[in-house]
Amino acid sequence: MPKESRAIPKMCGIETEFGIIDLSSRASPASANAKFIQSIRPEWIPDSFMIPWNPQERLSPPIRMGLFRNFSEDADAENHDFFQDDSWRERENILLANGARLYLDGAHAEISTPICSDPKMLVTWNRACYRIIDFLRKKHEKVYRKKYAVIRNNVAGKPRDDIPGSGARNSFACHENYTVLRRISLEKLISHAVPWLVLRTPLIGAGKIGADNCTAEATYQISQRADFFTREWGLDTMEDRGIYNIRDAPYADAERFRRIHVIPGDSNMLEIPEYLKIGLTSIFLMMLEDGVLDGRFALADPVKEFWAISRSLDMTHRVTLRNKKETRLTLDCLWDYYELFGNYLDEYHPENEVFYDVLAHMADILKKLFRRDYESLYGVLDWPTKFLFIQRAVAKERGGWKSDLALGLDYEYHDNDPEGVFQREIFADNGRITRDEDIDNAIIIQPPTRAHWIIDVTRRFSKNIACSTYWHMISFKNPARGVLRAELYFQDPTLMWNQEIADQLLALPLKKFLIDAQKLLPVKVVKFCV
């Protein structure tokens, strides 16, 4: 008999920022990204909603409550031009038919997947989001005669040859989000999550040429993001980043749920590392909720270890544990995690096929990493694929790894265009865990989660009632007077779609719908006098 698990399903999502280049003019990067989003015509994406999205949502309750004295709301506000004024109200935010959100986040076009309930589902919807971006790029080309390149990496700019590892390049992100129980203390989350987020790097890194942020020189490293992290935990996402980000806007009942905002991961081109990233971190968080993880992996200096693991292409780096009595190979730590994850699934979730599949991929990849069998990881993990390709491509090139061609391929690898060389020749057929027809469906339909409710309720009432929508809330306004009438909160992020209840509720007029929804679903309605 399996043991009873106290862990909640790991609802998850991915936010991807794109680097958009206007190849048809000399437009600045910020202007190219803004133009790309702001010029989208509603008729290009039917069944979508262009709506305002309140950025104050992102501020975490602990910060609002003043629990972190070292930080203030200003820390986030200073870094985000969203907070400079009220202009966000006019900015384009598009709630897509599949429940994803497309918007302009500061200087970058960004897409956030709808909330998903397992790693395979998330990879499918994330890939659907990338196809939507490509569809929009093609529309821009056709309608405005613009030529854009959409790059899905995490670092850009020109490294200066005269200053090794100079901070000339900027980083932008691919964030993961997971729902965890609020009862797990922040201290426990930080102490356990930081080693995992550092040690998982060889499984998920997207690889890059060079070093950044004044860190030690490197020809090539495993992680795109490691160099940009300077502290164990923190709030900031654009400077002085912490490996554990304490932003905690749960988009749910804040007393029961927390949303972990994971920022050190790379944007993956191949599906397998993305699948591992989400699947393994989900298992890890479930173990934390079940109280079966100890502090054996605590690192003496997580930031330095992050930089060192990222540079250890031969896997020989030994991490120093917090007790300072022991150093261990990164791969040995990962194998320990593998065994712990397996034992946990055997005891608590012996029927979860998706998680066992994730674990089988982990074992297979670890065996190859132990043998340093990088050729067999070509088309499986991003960093060896990119490494082997560039190494071969620049073998006869003057300047080698510092040549224009090498640095160009470092970006070309991340081109979102499915007709691009890497997409066509490598990603289309290698390292896949999804099917093309599932991705095509995920462009227009929602995952069977809370996202399905949000879209269907918005769609049902949008014709008669002015709505604005957040991840967990829909506000209904009186169309005649334009004043707020009621807000409907989907408090439980683990809520799944139920066709029978939906048929019953969505046939009702708004007033009756709001009353009955509270009886049949874990929702809260806040009414306003009008």
Binding site: N33, A107, A173, T237, E239, P350, A360, D373, L405
Partner: protein, 66 residues
């Protein structure tokens, strides 16, 4: 139905003579197969890759984000 998990022994790390990415533990056949594959891909897309990659390198200058 419980999923049957294959029990796998912890792999060995120190295989003699394999101490760097330039000298990996890949079988000779696999290594040459991948090299051939990459060479073919490079040959087929040489002009395209060189032109596009260099252009993107020059223009991919983004502001910080997140």
């Amino acid at each position: 139905m419980p999923v049957k998990r294959e029990r796998i022994e912890r792999p060995e790390f120190n295989i003699p003579g394999q101490d760097a990415i330039n000298n990996p533990g890949t079988t000779v056949e696999e290594a040459s197969r991948i090299k051939k594959k990459i060479d073919e891909m490079l040959k087929k897309n040489k002009r395209d890759l060189k032109k596009k990659a260099r252009r993107k390198r020059r223009r991919h200058i983004q502001e910080k984000g997140e």
